[in-house]
Symmetry: C2
Subunit: 677 residues, 2 copies
Amino acid sequence: MSVDTLAISTIRLLAVDAVAAANSGHPGAPLGLAPAAHALFKKMAFNPANPDWINRDRFVLSNGHACALLYSMLVLYGYDLTLEDLKHFRQLHSKTPGHPEAHEIPGVEVTTGPLGQGICNGVGLALAQKQFAATYNKPGFPISDSYTYVFLGDGCLMEGVSSEASSLAGHLQLNNLIAFWDDNQISIDGSTKVSFTEDVIARYRAYDWNIIEVIKGDDDIEAISNAIDEAKKCTNKPTLIRLKTIIGYGSLAAGTHSVHGSPLKADDIKQLKEKFGFDPSKSFVIPEEVTALYQEHVKENQSKEAAWNDLFASYKKEFPELGAQLQRRLDGQLPEGWEKALPVYTPQDKAVATRKLSETVLSSLYNVLPELIGGSADLTPSNLTRAAAAVDFQAPSTGLGDYSGRYIRYGVREHGMGAIMNGIAAFGANYKNFGGTFLNFVSYAAGAVRLSALSQLPSIWVATHDSIGLGEDGPTHQPIETLAHFRALPNTAVWRPADGNEVSAAYKQAIESTTTPHIIALTRQNLPQLEGSSIEKASKGGYILCKKSDTPDLTFVSSGSEVSICVDASAKLAEQGIKANVVSIPDFLTFNKQSEDYKLSVLPDGVPIMSVEVMSTFGWSKFSHQQFGINTFGASGKAEDLYKYFGFTPDNIAAKGLDTINFYKGKQVISPIRCAF
Amino acid sequence: MSVDTLAISTIRLLAVDAVAAANSGHPGAPLGLAPAAHALFKKMAFNPANPDWINRDRFVLSNGHACALLYSMLVLYGYDLTLEDLKHFRQLHSKTPGHPEAHEIPGVEVTTGPLGQGICNGVGLALAQKQFAATYNKPGFPISDSYTYVFLGDGCLMEGVSSEASSLAGHLQLNNLIAFWDDNQISIDGSTKVSFTEDVIARYRAYDWNIIEVIKGDDDIEAISNAIDEAKKCTNKPTLIRLKTIIGYGSLAAGTHSVHGSPLKADDIKQLKEKFGFDPSKSFVIPEEVTALYQEHVKENQSKEAAWNDLFASYKKEFPELGAQLQRRLDGQLPEGWEKALPVYTPQDKAVATRKLSETVLSSLYNVLPELIGGSADLTPSNLTRAAAAVDFQAPSTGLGDYSGRYIRYGVREHGMGAIMNGIAAFGANYKNFGGTFLNFVSYAAGAVRLSALSQLPSIWVATHDSIGLGEDGPTHQPIETLAHFRALPNTAVWRPADGNEVSAAYKQAIESTTTPHIIALTRQNLPQLEGSSIEKASKGGYILCKKSDTPDLTFVSSGSEVSICVDASAKLAEQGIKANVVSIPDFLTFNKQSEDYKLSVLPDGVPIMSVEVMSTFGWSKFSHQQFGINTFGASGKAEDLYKYFGFTPDNIAAKGLDTINFYKGKQVISPIRCAF
C-alpha cells in the first residue's frame, strides 16, 4: 500500500471514528472526499504553526457538515487540534463542533454549515486576494500569490446564494479560485434526481468558469492533482472541478443517503477498517508513516513562509511607504489619527439625509484607509456608497477598472454580497469592507449576516432607505421588522443614526471593530443636525440628547429620523410646562454594553419612558414603558404624508407623551434597565 | 397608424403620465415592455369583471417597479381600476401603490417589487395549475388549461432566489410557464456589463428551459405573438423568451439608466407624445379605438369564461364527487368536520418530538384535505413532512411521481421554496401549502416570508429543529433571533407548540387562515404531553396551562419545549410553598388579538412574570417583567448537556423565579398588558 493510500485511509477512518464516538455527524462526504483533501492539501501552502500567514492558500469546506474530514486534516497536519479533540467531536466545550467554526478552530478559514455560504466566502477570499496582490505586488516581489480552494456539494449548488456569487466570480475573472464539486448525486431526500437535474457544468460555463472533470474523484489522486495544476494554468476564469464521487465510499451503505448524516454501524466500520488494512479493534489510529508524510510537507511549507518573510523584509526596504502600510495592516492597526477624517457637525449645519452623510464619511475615509473596500448591490446612486475618487474593482481587460480598485459592483445580489463580504473580512490584512443595499433587503442576506455575527466578522452594511421615510416605493420596500430582527441577533450592531455626528460615530465603531458586524440604517430623507449630539456621546450607543430636567415628567427614547421629532415634541410639551427629556439610542448593542449606572443615568427610575420609532415596537419594551411605532406594514405615498398618516408628528408624539404621563401618574415607575438577574 | 400601434403608444404614455404626475416612479421598463404587454394580454384568457376566475391565465410582473405598465393595462382592460386611480399613482390611500400589491388591486396576481420574487411566484402558480389540472381534468373536461406568464428583468435574474425556482421549474417540466426576459442591458448601476455578464440563455438551457429570442422586443408585436405561440407548443419545458428591448424606448434618454427610476423631463414627455402622434398638451389620454379594441378582447374572454362555466356545470353532473369537492374549494370552504382529524392528547400519552407530532397531523390531514400540498427543502427525513400515503409531484415521464402528486421535492432551496409557496397560495382553489426546513433556515427565505405576510398569503412553514435542542449540529443551525424576527413581522403567526394538543391547535389555525402565513416551530427532541393543554385553549395564542393559585407569587410565561420545564420548576417552588402559575404562549400574534380582559386574566396585575424561552429574550419584555433566555449563540453538544449548560433546568428556572419574586417584593407590579394607548 502506498503511503498516499494509507494517508487517505487514515483520514477516512479518523472521520468515521469521530462520528461514531459522537454517535452524531456526517461520515458520507468525508469518505468520498478524503482523496481530494489529501491531494489538495499537498498542493497548498500553509503553516499549521502560523495559521494566519497572509500568503497561505486558503481552504473552505462549503459543505460544512463534512467537518470530520476537515478536523482530521487539521489534526494530521499538526494544527492546534489534537486526536483528543477529535475524540470529543460534537461535544459541549470541544474544539470540534458539529460544523466548522472559524473563530474557534485554528486552520478553519470560515464558518460553514448553512449551505451555499462557503463557496461565496471563497469568492470573497479570492476577491480580497486579487485586490491585495494588485495593491502590494511589485515586479520581483510577489507579496501575494495565494489560491482559494473550496469543496462544495450539491446542496451548496442548489442554494441561490451560490449562484449569485458564482456569477459574479465569473464576471470578475477570479482565476485564483478553484472549487471542487463533490458530485455524489445524493442529498438528504435521496437521489438528486428528485429535485436537482439541471446541467451544473453548463451552468458554470454560462457563468464563464473554467471546467475540469475528474471521473474517479474518490480514488484517482493523480487525476485530482493534475486537475489542480490544470486549473492554475487558467489565467482569466475561476475553475470548477467536478469530482465524481461515491458518498460513503467503502461503506456497506455507499452511494445512498443513509451514510449522509448518520454514524456508520459497528459492523460497517469493522469491514471498512479491514478493507483498508487497519486493525478493526482500534480507533483513531494515525500510522507513523502518515504523520511523517504530512510533517514533511509542513516543513516544505515552513520554508516557503520563511522565504516569504525574507521577501517581505526586502520589500519594506525597497518600498518603505507601502511596506509600512502593509505591516500596519498585518498588525491589525488603523492609521494613526484616522478618526480625524470623520466629519463633525453643529446644529447650524444644514439638514441632510443620513445616506448622504454616510457618503461624506466614505469619501472622506477613502484615501485615509487603503483597507476600505466595498460596493453596492446595484444601488450605487441610491446608497451613495461610491467615493468620487474610487476605482472599480474589475478585471483590467474589461476597461472598467482594475484589480486594485476598491469599489465593487455586486449586482442585484444581496445574499451573495453578504457572504462575499464575510470572505473579504476573513482574508485578513485588516480589510474593512462594506456593502450597500436598502435596509429592507438586508433581510435577503439574513443567512450571511448571521454568519458574520457568529464568526465575528466585522462586515459593514450601508443600509439606506431605512423606513417609511423612503416614501413612494411603498410597503414592499419599507422596513418594519428589520431592526428588531437584527437587534435580536447576538453580536450585531444595528446603528440608526439621527444626524451627522451619529453617522460619524456609527462608522467610527464599525471601522474600529474587529469582531462585530455593523448594520448602519440610513435615511433617504433629510434630517436636521441636532443640538446635543456628538461622536463621543453617540459612541455609548445611547445618551440623553436633550435634557429638560434632572427629574423630568417623561423621557422619549428614539432613534434615527424620529429623534428630531421627539425634540420638537418635547418643545411642544415645554410650552405646557411639561418636561420631557429626549434620549437617542442609535445602537442597542453598544448601549447594552454600558455600565448599569450609566444606563440608569440615561433611563432613571421614576420617569415614564415612551419609545418612538417609525417601525415595529417589538423589543423596545426593554428600554421603555410605552411604545409608539408601526406594527402594520407601511404604505406608498410621499414621505411627509406617511409620517403624518402614521402619527409621527411633533403634535401627535407630544399627545402620546401626555397619555403616557397620565397613565403612569400615581404608579410606581421602575426603570426598565433594572432587572432581577 | 394601426390600432395596435396606437394601443401601445397609449400604454406607454399612460405609464409616463402616471410617473410624471407622481413625480416618482419607473418609466423606463414600461416604455420598453409596452408592446410585449399588449401582445401578451391579447393572447391571455381573463375576465376583468371576475378577476378570480380559476381558469384565467395569470400575469406576473416580476420587475414590479414597472407597475405603471401593469396598472395601465388594468385600466385599459376595464378592471376595477380607473384613470383617476392612475392619476394618483404612488399617493397615500391610492389603489396604485409604488409596487403592485395583490391584496389591494384587482388583476394583480402577486405582490412584486423585491426582485426575483415574481418569477418564483410564477413557478408556484404554474406548479399549482399543473397539480390542479392533474387532479380535476377528465377526458373532454379541460377544467384547467391556463398559463402563467411572467415579465422579469435583469435584476430578477441576478437574484439567487430566481435561480433556485428556475432550476426547479426546469426539473418539474412546467411547460405552462412562459417568462419574458426584458433584456435591456441596464440596471441601476448603469450597464449590466459592470456586474452581469454571464450567458443567461445558456444558464436557462442548463436548467432545461425552452428558449426563444425576439430581437426587436420593444417593437415587433408579431414576433412577440409568434414567440408565445411557439412557447405553447413546447410540451415538457418552461419557456424563457428573451426580448431584446431598449429601456425608455422613445425617450431622449433611452438606453440609459437615467430612465430607470426617475420621471421623464417635461420636454422629453413632449417629444415622446409628438413622436407617438399624441397631443403633447394632454395627459392620460385613451383613444376610443383603443378602448374598443380591448373591450372586444374582453368580450371574447367573457365568452370563454361562460363556456367554462357551462363545462363546469356538466362536470359536476358527470363527476358529482369531484365536482362537489372542486366547488367547495372554489367557495373557499374546508370539508365539513375536517378538524376532527386533528389528534388530541392526554398527559398519559408518551413524550414525542413536536416535529413527529406534526408528521402525525400532516398524515392525518392528507386524505381529509385534497387541497393540502407541500414539501421540504431537502430535509424530508428530518422535517417529517411527507405523509406515508403521499405521491411526489413530479413529471410523470420521470417515473418518480406524477402531477397529481402533493409532495414537492424542493431541493436545498429555502428562499425559492418560500416564493413558490406564495405562488401556490395565490393560485386560489383553497390550496393549503406548506414547506419544511429547519427553523434557522426560514431566515434564508425572509424575503418571501415578508411577502406572504404583506400580501396576506397563508403559507405554512414546518420549521423543525427549533432551538439548541437540536443538539450537535451546533450554533450554525440553532435559532436564537429567528422567532423575534418573525414575531416582529406584521401579520405573521409564529407558533411554538409545547405538546401534541398545541401542535394540533397550530395546524388548526394555519389551515383555517386565508390571510396569514404561519411558521410552526417544532422540536427535534421529545416533549411530554401536558396536563392542562387543549386545542381550544391553545387556539387563543396564550393561556394559563398550570394554575397553582388565583393570586400566585409568580407567573412563568414560556413557549414550546420550555413550558414543561416551567411546569417542573413550578412544582419545585411549590415544595417551598411558593405558588407559580405557568402560562403557555404558543403564538404572540394570536394572543395579541385577544381582548384586554382575557389577556389580563392570563397575565394579571400584581404578579411578577418571568419569561422562559431557550433563545433571544428580545420582545419578551412585552409579556413579562423579567426574561430568561439565550442572548448569545448556542453551542454544539448533546441537547441535554446544552439545556443544562444554558440553565434550562427545573432547578435553575425555579431559582431564577425566586430571584424575580424577591426583586419585585415591595414594588408595585403592573401587568405588561396594560398600556397608555
